[in-house]
């Protein structure tokens, strides 16, 4: 008597047979038939044709049959909306049933029928059920509000269900509270702006009480909701923590992790001197470790979260290294995560154990895992200085195994160790050289070549070794080619006598036979350097290299703080903020950790500027990434060479162009080199000194039309000009740190005495120092371009910001943008290249000689066809005509005539854009009416709208 019999009737007339059975008089047969229908449905067969027949079975006293029919309805109502209406009456009747189980079932099912027409009928029964005397019905109804909201959000708001739902948070039954919170959280997710879950100390208290009594799932919802609350002081934070801590001993791991999230977040507010702080830290470790004894899937999610927690507060798990040791039958995704955390926890105290483990892992079967383990040994060496020697000998042991991929990984990490501890472990080079032939991966080859080049003076046959690589130069990957080029140049500088031929060979290979611009440019640079000034070349190429940093893959502090707020969510699994991947979460409000309120402790608490507003302030016109990249790809990045940049340099002029271009590309790939940790090319390190030194004098009037100076003079003599310059909007954030690996850019545009400038504030919110800034604009409507390179004099240290005024000119290349005043900007630093776009106010383009002769004005006004006239309203402006005209004059909008017609002031004004377009304006001001009417006439009518915007900005500020 099993249900598998329902699957056996797969004959042709199946549907027909079922139809007959459904309409049978016998109850039992009916039920069997419905079961068969459900069985077909579960495996994805289409049984929607039976809709009317199944619905007919709905009016029954048999609860099981009713449930089955409801199941069917939920699945197919969408495809048969007209038929579904037939079921409405039964639903409404069931909502009045004396049995609360049936009332709840009815309201639950109705919510699942995703048909617009039905939702209207649902409102009344739902309202009743939300106030039902039975808590079981109330809690079901609470969820139903969320369902309804998903189908028709407007309806839910209009009917006031949201308020009813908010009231349910104070319900006497904890289950109802939990479900209300869950429903509100879900609704809030699709409406990030609405503050549905507006928590106050009273409601928090309610939630904490319900937390103790509701089911495990309810606890998760309540804890997640608590995590969004911002306690008003450390005392409140502590009392919440105290009440949440017992949840750490819950058997459900999701409850544990949600509790950990609340504690990690509120801990931020507690003073470190507090005893409670220490107690809390201690209490956090055991539950996290316990998560690791659960099923592998749970372990994986737990490990991803522990990874974040360890970065934020390493002290919690510092004694628990052993639980992260890998078992050979762990799934690979668990192994890799454990390894990562092991390295993060490695310290002088436990390094011996860790190394022994890692060596063990290096003999495992799984290739990916083995590679990562070998790499981990290298990372340990770099992280814990005392262990470096042991790590190197472990790596040598591994090289002796001659397992191909182990050897290659080992060589890659040894190169990093050399960079961290120069002149310490070079004795191993001989062993490395023995394995030269077995290397077949580009990264390992490049690493080996770097080592040979760097230590050429100690390797007797360095020239032979490098020469052997040179034979197959064209077949190598770019990485290897670049490295080989640099290594041979190094070799030449160290042993110039024997290697002349070799260096010439590689230079000609790189410059003449290669299609790769990076390679060619680097080749040319070396060539020029060597031929003009070998001493300088030596200084550049063999310069001291900066040591590599200890931890290479830490998450940026701003991002880490945000992710801590998302512990336990998908974001924590992907280590990305939800805005980066969750669909349809455009306006997701960024979460940030609360600032510490207790004792003054600045060392630890990171700078968490409320990042919530950034998203909202971004210009709304950012084109899709694809477009932008496409456009900007045409640009060559790096400082533009348009000005008089290298005039001070002693290099011949012939080389200037080449050097400029070459350096640009070198600097461009420097960041790449650093990222992949190959970063061996000393030329890159030295390139800073060769970067085109911009003239320090600010190029005034560079971009302004020639006559502007005269214009100014005339204005002065006229005595009307105000020298205050045009209106400057306050700075807004253009590039949030989140999107640019920690670089935040805010800025505005200004125009002062004929020159336009872009006032920028660069803030480094990353861990590492930023340097080598450069800026470039995409082609734009008015040819705006930087008139001088972006000058950041000193490297930007973490948490530092610098203000820069970048002079602009309008001689760049022109392309019409949409919107017209859109400007796409690329900013480069040593980390990466970042793109953003912003809108500039048009009035920065209004030139100083924009005053037209009266006759000329009249003639032009008549001349421009009427269809080019555009009318706008400027509302809520209380200035009088004189104030208006002087204010506008400050921004180079000149009043030519003023008339008074029937009590209205008419101002006739003109302005000229940098590209010579004249715009004529007529501004009508009624003394009693705060709305002005602006008529604009222009031969290029598309600018009118932006001119109007400029008017509005100027007048209202």
């Amino acid at each position: 008597m099993t249900d598998s019999k329902y699957f056996t009737t797969t004959k042709k007339g199946e549907i027909f047979e079922l139809k007959a059975e459904l309409n049978s008089d016998k109850k039992e047969k009916k039920k069997e038939a419905v079961k068969k229908v459900i069985a077909s449905m579960t495996v994805g067969k289409d049984v929607s044709a039976l809709f009317p027949d199944v619905v007919n079975c709905m009016q029954t006293d048999n609860l099981e049959l009713k449930k089955l029919v409801y199941l069917y309805l939920m699945n197919y109502a969408k495809s048969q909306p007209d038929m579904a209406i037939m079921a409405v009456n039964t639903f409404v009747k069931d909502c009045e049933d004396p049995n609360p189980l049936i009332r709840a079932l009815a309201v639950r099912t109705m919510g699942c029928i995703r048909v617009d027409k039905i939702t209207e009928y649902l409102c009344e029964p739902l309202r009743k059920c939300l106030k039902d005397e039975d808590p079981y019905v109330r809690k079901t109804a609470a969820v139903c509000v969320a369902k309804l909201h998903d189908i028709n959000a407007q309806l839910v708001e209009d009917q006031g269900f949201l308020d009813t739902l908010k009231d349910l948070i104070s319900d006497s039954n904890p289950m109802v509270v939990a479900n209300a919170v869950a429903a509100l959280s879900e609704i809030a997710e699709s409406h990030p702006s609405s503050n549905l879950l507006d928590l106050n100390p009273q409601s928090i208290n309610k939630l904490l009480t319900a937390l103790n009594e509701c089911t495990e799932w309810g606890q998760i919802f309540i804890l997640d909701c608590l995590a969004n609350y911002m306690p008003k002081d450390d005392r409140e934070a502590q009392s919440i923590c105290e009440r949440v801590t017992p949840r750490l001993s819950h058997a459900n791991s999701a409850v544990v992790l949600s509790a950990v999230k609340v504690l990690m977040k509120f801990m931020e507010m507690l003073s470190k001197d507090l005893d409670y702080y220490g107690t809390l830290l201690k209490k956090l470790a055991p539950p996290l470790v316990t998560l690791l004894s659960a099923e592998p899937e749970l372990q994986y999610v737990a490990l991803r979260n522990i990874n974040l927690i360890v970065q934020k507060r390493p002290e919690i798990l510092k004694h628990e290294m052993k639980v992260f040791f890998v078992k050979y039958n762990d799934p690979i995704y668990v192994k890799l995560e454990k390894l990562d955390i092991m390295i993060r926890l490695a310290s002088q105290a436990n390094i011996a154990q860790v190394l022994a483990e890692l060596k063990e892992y290096a003999t495992e079967v799984d290739v990916d895992f083995v590679r990562k383990a070998v790499r981990a040994i290298g990372r340990c060496a770099i992280k814990v200085e005392q262990s470096a020697e042991r790590c190197v000998s472990t790596l040598l042991d591994l090289i002796q195994t001659k397992v191909n991929y182990v050897v290659q990984e080992a060589i890659v990490v040894i190169k990093d160790i050399f960079r961290k501890y120069p002149n310490k472990y070079e004795s191993v080079i001989a062993t490395l050289c023995e394995n030269l032939d077995s290397l077949d991966e580009p990264e390992a080859r490049a690493a080996m070549i770097w080592i040979v080049g760097e230590y050429a003076e100690r390797i007797d046959n360095a020239d032979e070794l490098l020469e052997s690589f040179l034979e197959g130069f064209h077949d190598e990957s770019t990485q290897v080619q670049l490295q080989l080029l640099t290594a041979i140049v190094k070799l030449f500088l160290k042993k110039p006598t024997e290697t002349q031929e070799l260096v010439q060979q590689v230079l000609s290979l790189a410059t003449q036979d290669s299609d790769n611009p990076d390679l060619r440019d680097r080749g040319y640079i070396y060539w020029r350097l060597l031929s003009t000034d070998p001493v300088a070349a030596k200084e550049v190429v063999l310069a001291e290299k900066p040591l590599i940093s200890e931890e290479t893959d830490l998450i940026e502090p701003t991002l880490l703080d945000e992710l801590i707020c998302y512990i336990g969510t998908l974001a924590s699994v992907y280590h990305k903020p939800p805005s980066a991947f969750v669909e349809g979460s455009r306006g997701v409000v960024h979460k940030s950790l609360p600032p510490r309120t207790g004792s003054s402790e600045s060392a630890e608490s990171p700078d968490t500027a409320p990042s919530g507003v950034q998203a909202a302030e971004q210009p709304a016109v950012i084109p899709t990434q694809g477009d932008l990249l496409g456009d900007l790809l045409n640009l060559d990045l790096g400082p533009p060479v348009s000005g008089p940049p290298i005039a001070t340099s002693s290099v011949q002029m012939g080389a200037v162009d080449l050097l400029g271009g070459g350096l640009d590309s070198l600097m461009g790939d420097e960041s790449e080199g650093l990222r992949s940790d190959v970063g061996g090319s000393p030329a890159m390190g030295g390139s800073g000194s060769f970067a085109p030194a911009p003239s320090t004098a600010v190029p005034t009037n560079l971009g302004a039309p020639l006559g502007s100076g005269l214009g100014d003079l005339f204005d002065l003599t006229g005595g009307v000009g105000t020298l205050s310059g045009s209106y400057v909007a306050p700075k807004t954030v253009w590039l949030p740190a989140m999107k640019a690996k920690g670089l935040e850019i805010s800025g505005t545009f200004s125009r002062q005495v004929g020159s336009i400038s872009m006032d920028l504030v660069l803030t480094n919110k990353a861990l590492q120092v930023m340097s080598d800034f450069a800026i470039q604009f995409n082609r734009n409507s008015f040819g705006l371009a930087p008139a001088a390179p972006l000058q950041v004099h000193a490297p930007l240290a973490p948490n530092q910001s610098v203000e820069i005024s970048l002079p602009l000119n309008t001689v760049g290349s022109v392309m019409k943008m949409d919107p017209l005043n859109n400007l796409q900007v690329a900013v480069k630093n040593n980390i990466d290249v970042f793109y953003f776009s912003t809108l500039y106010p048009l009035h920065i383009l209004f030139v100083e000689d924009g005053k037209m002769e009266r006759q000329m004005f009249l003639a032009t006004w008549k001349d421009i066809p009427n269809e080019n006239e555009a009318q706008f309203q400027i509302k809520d402006c209380s200035l009088n005509a004189d104030a208006v005209s002087s204010k506008l004059q400050g921004s180079n909008i000149f009043t030519i005539a003023k008339r008074n017609v029937e009590g209205q002031d008419m101002l006739y004004q003109s302005l000229k854009l940098t590209n010579g377009i004249w715009v004529l304006a007529e501004l009508r001001i009624q003394p009693s009416n705060p709305s002005f009417t602006l008529s604009l006439k222009c031969r290029a009518p598309e600018v009118s709208q932006y001119v109007y915007q400029a008017y509005e900005t100027i007048l209202k500020n």
């Binding site: 459900i38 099981e64 089955l68 592998p296 050979y328």
Partner: protein, 418 residues
């Protein structure tokens, strides 16, 4: 919240789907199949997979993939916990969680899923409540049902659903009132080549079978509660009592449940009951190797170590093994390269030994990796951590229950590296 659930068997057939919101097409599982193909081994399929419009969170239990589809930001642990709960419920209802069991009871499965989740929110996941709503299938009941036409769906509201003790149903009645506790401890350990312990900890649980009438209020105390510093509790346990008095005080659910799970990790408390002596070596260029393993007892508190089984994943190059066992029997599967040696009981007088020749593929290089030995064993009437139940008291009911405690120690993930 959880949008849909697909059950997929090992050969990649979707044999059940359930949608709690709008219907998501089966094709979404293609992303899962892709990941499965990449992972090669079924165990290695990543539990969280992102697709352009959805996220797939899956677990692998009893040769079935439970793949859930979610669309919004949801705590993945919540989903994984829930999926395990679904699998547990199937196990509980049908005795096994297998494709055939699910297919045989598809209507009940569907009813259960509908009862467990509403619009993606968990509704009733406690087995006590579910069983009141939907009666588990028994042969007798299906016969009775087919004769009388009654159904296996309860038509009253489950009583525990809304009370402050949602895990217990009301009106429980037994003629024999019994309460049994099984203290089960598993030793997870990694032993290195030289026989010293790299890592060891004890994962303990107390599983209870409580058949008591009415609303009994129990308190369980231990001789040495200080051992338990890292514990996870069933929701029924009063946390405050534990914090202050180190006594487990609770109104139990009816039937079988896990009362607490705990972890003992301080190294000196974890005794390792067996030792292994081993030589596994492969000769260079001779396509053969030696294999010699002896297992002996150690630190077993005078109890017998039994049920000993050793499994070894031999390297790929191993073709066959010619061994002799002084005790028990061994099998070697040349396809999966798994050697299993069923030892049985260890008698200290005559230590079990397995010895012989390993045949390698001719011409293949010497295998790089050293196989790990996986040991299983059992010790009855011993909790290796030394945990002991002191007494069990019952309040709130008049009758005198029958009480029992059983201890057992097992090997968990017990690995010996060679």
């Amino acid at each position: 919240m959880i949008h849909s659930l697909f059950l997929i068997n090992c050969s990649g057939d979707i044999f059940l789907e359930k949608h709690w919101k709008s219907v998501v097409s089966q094709s979404v599982c293609d992303y899962f199949f892709e990941a499965q193909e990449k992972a090669i081994d079924v165990e290695n399929v990543p539990p969280v997979i992102s697709t352009p419009h959805h996220y797939l969170i899956s677990i692998y239990r009893d040769k079935i993939f439970f793949v859930s589809v979610i669309q919004t930001e949801v705590p993945p642990l919540f989903v994984i916990e829930f999926l395990h709960r679904v699998a547990d419920t199937f196990q509980d209802y049908f005795g096994e969680c297998s494709e055939t069991a699910i297919k045989d009871n598809v209507v009940i499965v569907y009813e259960l899923l509908e009862e467990m989740l509403d619009n993606g929110f968990p509704l009733a996941t406690e087995s006590n409540i579910l069983k009141e709503l939907i009666k588990p299938p028994t042969i007798l009941r299906s016969v009775v049902n087919s004769i009388t036409g009654s159904s296996n769906v309860g038509d009253t509201l489950p009583t525990g659903q809304l009370s402050n003790i949602p895990w217990r149903r009301a009106g429980v009645k037994y003629t024999n009132n019994e309460a049994y506790f099984d203290v089960i401890e598993e030793i997870d350990a990694i032993i290195d080549k030289s026989g010293s312990t790299v890592f060891a900890e004890i994962q303990g649980v107390i599983d209870s079978c409580i058949k008591l009438s009415g609303m009994p209020d129990l308190s369980l105390s231990f001789m040495n509660p200080r051992l338990l510093d890292d514990v996870s509790f069933h929701p029924c346990i009063r946390f405050k009592r534990w914090e202050s008095e180190r006594v487990l005080s609770f109104i139990p659910p009816d039937g079988n449940f896990r009362l607490i799970s705990y972890r003992v990790s301080s190294q000196n408390l974890v005794a390792i009951p067996v030792y292994v002596k081993h030589t596994i070596s492969f000769k260079e260029y001779s396509s053969s190797g030696r294999f010699d393993v002896t297992i002996g007892p150690k630190q077993n508190m005078g109890k017998t170590v039994e049920g000993v089984v050793m499994t070894v994943h031999m390297p790929k190059a191993v073709l066959n093994m010619n061994l002799t066992a002084t005790q028990g029997s061994y099998t070697f599967d040349p396809v999966t390269k798994v050697l299993t040696w069923d030892v049985g009981k260890i008698t200290p007088q005559k230590l079990p030994n397995l010895k012989g020749i390993v045949n390698l593929q001719s011409g293949a290089p010497k295998p790089e990796e050293n196989p790990s030995l996986n040991i299983q064993f059992k010790i009855q009437q011993l909790a290796i951590s030394g945990l002991k139940v002191n007494r069990l008291d019952m309040y709130g009911e008049k009758y005198k229950p029958f009480k029992g405690v059983k201890y057992i120690t097992k090997a968990g993930k017990f690995q010996v590296r060679t």
